[in-house]
């Protein structure tokens, strides 16, 4: 018999399993649950995009594309970034089409890191950054941003964590799980530190379009930052295309070439069907995308008002589709709260601690759900909270 424990990579073994997994197993066995635990749009991909993909299949677009992705799509991506943020990328050597931001992140980290290099990861954040850093041989260094500052990382907090080994910082605004956005001024301060300490920025801007107040600032659009930034974005959120697995990475030709080297041997290219669909989304998808954004914004307001009425304190998320209320005054941990909320009130959320230790005391609620479901979920949470405070700590379990 083969002993797999001996065979498996110790590096992968050392990575803890995702905290979401256990919750997923719990929820899957239950009926009648309203889920605010979903990290993707509740819209299906707009029909014109699906239809364009069907047409491309009929026309026989079933082959590999260039490793970089279809030139036409890269040109459209470059045009799009220029129109939105006035950042000019050369489609031929500064844009790489990837299998989602997920692959883009992995490629960027692997292209950059040597063993022992440190990557600053402001937390709470999306779950993949630290594990991908470790798997690329680097050392993730969490920056615990403060709830008082709505979890936006500050230049000072970054400075504090910089060592001679620091090579990269990952920025991710609008943020999953907090919904926080960051202003141009704050980013300018960060840019100063980045420049002074000669860092590379990986900026995951997958929620850029889902910015409800103020304007999103593309980090690469700041003075002198374009050449230090690997910009990651994709189609999953704005165009409701999570399952298509398509994104892109933009940056200096040298680093993009390095990333493309890994991509060509591990992925070859992103699926052509998804690339054809993405082309349609960029060319003709703005109206429907804006409608979806307007809809999220209404739900955002509905949820915030609901939370404040039931006494759940929550800072105002200005982007993505998450609210990150504090549950500290219940005396429960995130995990206990989320588990009891699920079992006793049948509302699924994700414990904030999954996204970093300072997510403890919070839960992530996605409002990518129907108005009826959101209203019902808030009702159920209200009853649950009342029961909690009525029972006190010992009486009920």
């Amino acid at each position: 018999m083969i002993n797999w424990t001996d065979k498996l990579s110790p590096q992968v073994k050392s990575i803890p399993p995702s905290g979401i997994r256990r919750f997923f197993d719990l929820v899957s066995e239950m009926k009648g649950v309203i889920s605010l635990g979903v990290g993707e749009p509740d819209f299906v991909t707009p029909w014109h995009v699906r239809e364009a993909c069907i047409y491309s299949l009929e026309k026989g677009y079933t082959m590999y594309t260039s490793n970089w992705g279809l030139l036409e799509l890269r040109e459209e991506i470059a045009r799009h970034l220029y129109n939105n943020y006035k950042v000019a990328y050369e489609p031929r050597n500064e844009v790489l089409v990837t299998v989602g931001v997920s692959e883009g992140m992995d490629l960027a980290l692997r292209a950059l890191l040597a063993p022992g290099d440190e990557v600053l990861v402001p937390e709470p954040c999306y779950v993949s950054y630290a594990p991908c850093t470790s798997m690329a041989g680097g050392t993730p260094v969490p920056i615990l941003t403060s709830a008082e500052n709505d979890f936006r990382v500050t230049a000072a907090e970054i400075k504090e964590k910089i060592t001679p080994k620091t090579k990269v910082i990952i920025l991710s605004y609008p943020n999953n799980p907090t919904g926080a956005t960051i202003s141009r001024e704050e980013l300018m301060e960060i840019a100063k530190v980045v420049k002074k300490h000669d860092l590379v920025v990986i900026s995951d801007e997958i929620y850029d379009k889902l910015t409800y107040e103020g304007e999103h600032t593309c980090f690469a659009s700041l003075p002198a930052m374009k050449n230090r930034t690997i910009l990651l974005n994709g189609f999953s959120k704005a165009y409701a295309m999570t399952g298509w697995r398509l994104g892109y990475a933009c940056g200096h030709p040298e680093v993009i070439a390095h990333m493309t080297k890994i991509h060509q041997y591990t992925m070859l290219c992103a699926p052509v069907t998804a690339q054809m669909a993405a082309l349609e989304a960029l060319q003709n998808g703005t109206d429907e995308m804006l409608k979806m954004v307007a809809e999220y914004d209404r739900r955002r307001k509905l949820v915030l008002k609901g939370f404040s009425e039931i006494g759940l304190s929550c800072f105002e998320p200005k982007g993505a589709f998450y609210a990150f209320p504090s549950i500290k005054n219940t005396g429960l941990s995130s995990e206990e709260f989320a588990e009891r909320l699920l079992m006793e009130a049948k509302v699924a959320t994700v414990p904030g601690s999954v996204f970093g230790v300072n997510g403890q005391g919070h839960i992530r609620c996605s409002y990518a759900a129907s108005v009826e479901n959101l209203t019902e979920a808030i009702d159920r949470m209200d009853k649950f909270l009342k029961k909690l405070s009525f029972c006190g700590e010992e009486a009920c379990g």
Partner: protein, 163 residues
């Protein structure tokens, strides 16, 4: 009518059962303001009616619908309006549009049987003096109505929890 009114109308058009408090929350408004605005929109008949879209076929209720192209001679003074009114006053008539193109008035009629609909066309519609001719097209199947695909309810296929 301003931007807020338009947003209220958009929300209600899509779901007329939204409660005032929900609308108020979503549009960042005061609940009484929403109530007042809705009342005014109703009074001005910008909101004409709150209705439900029902799939009667699925409910087992057999109804017959027909789209009738009507060619008419317009009248001096009132053009098509008086003729249209004579037609749309019949309760069987569900929809009446004035059309460009090869005929003038489009009439959607509902009845219990094909015979009933045909009889209505022959006795009531075709006999209006200004009506030159009619062409009746029976509806065989309704796929989509008022922007809603009748059959397919796209289930939520997402995983219940994802990062």
């Amino acid at each position: 009518m301003d931007k807020k009114d338009r947003e209220i109308l958009e929300l209600l058009e899509n779901n007329s059962r939204l409660r005032y408090e929900q609308i108020a929350a979503m549009l960042d408004m005061d609940q009484t303001e929403v109530e007042n605005r809705v009342k005014e929109l109703e009074e001005k008949r910008l909101i004409v009616k709150y209705h439900s879209l029902i799939n009667w076929e699925k409910a087992g209720q057999e109804t017959v619908s027909a789209l009738i192209e009507v060619k008419v001679t317009p009248q001096r003074g009132s053009g098509f309006d008086d003729i249209a009114e004579r037609i749309y006053r019949f309760p069987e008539v569900k929809t009446v549009y004035l059309m460009s193109g090869s005929y003038d008035i489009s009439v959607l009629i509902e009845g219990k049987t094909m015979k009933e609909v045909a009889f209505f066309v022959a006795t009531k519609l075709a006999t209006v003096e200004e009506v030159q001719g009619t062409a009746t097209h029976f509806v065989l199947k309704k796929y989509k109505q008022e922007g809603v695909i009748l059959e397919d309810k796209e289930d939520d296929r997402r995983l219940v929890i994802s990062p």
